[in-house]
């Protein structure tokens, strides 16, 4: 219980069934409003690191009774590396929204200032969920943008680990792309000793990665895999679109008019780096 709702009349009266109903509706509206405010307060503006662009969207469900526990997050490490997160707490109520706030901060705390790969971050979050008795389960994906040969390397690589979350979609500049599907590791909140794995993909210049929650692809009449295929198709039609526009357009194209679930989306684009000077190797081979 997070609050109470008390109605008093100045004179003695009988409460009819209809009165009860009206009060019930009012109480529900007040509680989902609280949940939505809580939810939105967690969704901060993403970082915009050099030559990477991050765009985010959050769409609540059409029904005000369905407040979700979806979140996105993007922040920078002290060394400048970017960390990207998308997650979905099981449930659609104020408890899920509150658990989302806890999990978001746990991920930040476990990831910040450390060199750990995303799989290790997720394991530590899972251990904290168990050790701190956070009563929740969630699918979470943590990614890190790396330069394989150090800060001057123009090649960028996404290193990620997924705790039962839907695979990211990759979109190349020419409109081709694919889901970054990997053998799934277990969602968080079940078994902290479960093995976790990292995966990598190189991000060519102009490529886009879309992280999203299930509300974007889930429909009663079709499978999740079919939903992901439809999303990939919509994405490929939007290749070349500016990233913020792409986010709006892909949501419009993919979501039904009155979405039954909330949706969080994080899109990342690897822009070209024309200004970056090409460094000469320190030691020329003269042999």
């Amino acid at each position: 219980m997070l609050g109470s709702f008390c109605v008093v009349d100045t004179r003695p009266r009988t409460w009819t069934e209809r009165d009860d109903h009206v009060l019930d509706v009012l109480a529900r509206a007040a509680s989902s409003e609280v949940a939505l405010v809580l939810q939105e307060s967690m969704l901060t503006h993403p970082v915009q690191p050099d030559h990477l662009q991050v765009a985010v969207r959050y769409r609540p469900a059409a029904s005000e009774h369905e407040v979700g526990g979806d979140w996105y997050d993007a922040f920078q490490q002290p060394d400048g590396a970017s960390v990207l997160v998308i997650g979905d707490v099981v449930g659609h109520d104020i408890a899920a929204a509150a658990a989302m706030g806890q999990l978001r901060n746990l991920v930040r705390a476990m990831a910040f200032g450390r060199d750990d790969p995303p799989s290790r971050v997720l394991t530590r979050v899972d251990e904290a969920i168990r050790g701190l008795d956070v009563d929740t389960a969630a699918t979470v994906l943590v990614g890190r943008i790396e330069r394989p040969s150090g800060p001057t390397d123009a090649t960028r690589r996404l290193l990620w680990s997924s705790a039962g979350h839907l695979p990211p979609l990759l979109l190349l500049r020419d409109g081709s792309g694919r889901p970054l599907a990997t053998p799934p590791d277990l969602l968080l909140g079940i078994e902290p000793r479960t093995p976790r794995h990292d995966h990598t993909v190189e991000l060519p210049e102009g490529s886009t990665v879309l992280l999203y929650t299930d509300g974007l692809v889930e429909r009663r009449e079709r499978s999740l895999l079919a939903g992901m295929a439809a999303l990939q198709q919509n994405l490929s039609r939007l290749a070349g679109r500016e990233l913020e526009d792409l986010c709006d357009d892909v949501l419009t194209a993919t979501l039904p008019p009155a979405p039954g679930d909330d949706v969080a989306v994080l899109a990342l684009r690897a822009h070209p780096e024309p200004e970056r000077p090409v460094e000469q190797p320190q030691e020329e081979s003269t042999a």
């Binding site: 659609h92 705790a163 039962g164 799934p184 969602l187 499978s223």
Partner: protein, 116 residues
Amino acid sequence: MTSATDGPAGDVTVLFEADHTLILLSGAVDLAVADDLEQAGRDAVDAGTPIVADVRRVDMVDSVGASFLVRLAASARDGGRTMVLRGPSPRLDELLTLMGAQQLFRWQDDTPGGQT
């Protein structure tokens, strides 16, 4: 995700058989039946016998329904038992697979995609 208005509402029934506990799930297994799921889970764990969930009549399941089964399966495994799902339910199979939880279950059905 879904609501009871666009399909059959969910139902959760627990039957205590001699050698196992049977959880019958049907309709939309989602947030609307979350309390029933929780109670069924407690009853099934208390019974201490192997747990079988019959999911053949489930026509919609969301992360609330799926994670209920995952938690139940994890606690069954901690007690040295394997949870059995009586299928088929392609929808649930897909969701459990994406959640990385497939190895916690044994499917008892004869459809392609269902495990033995």
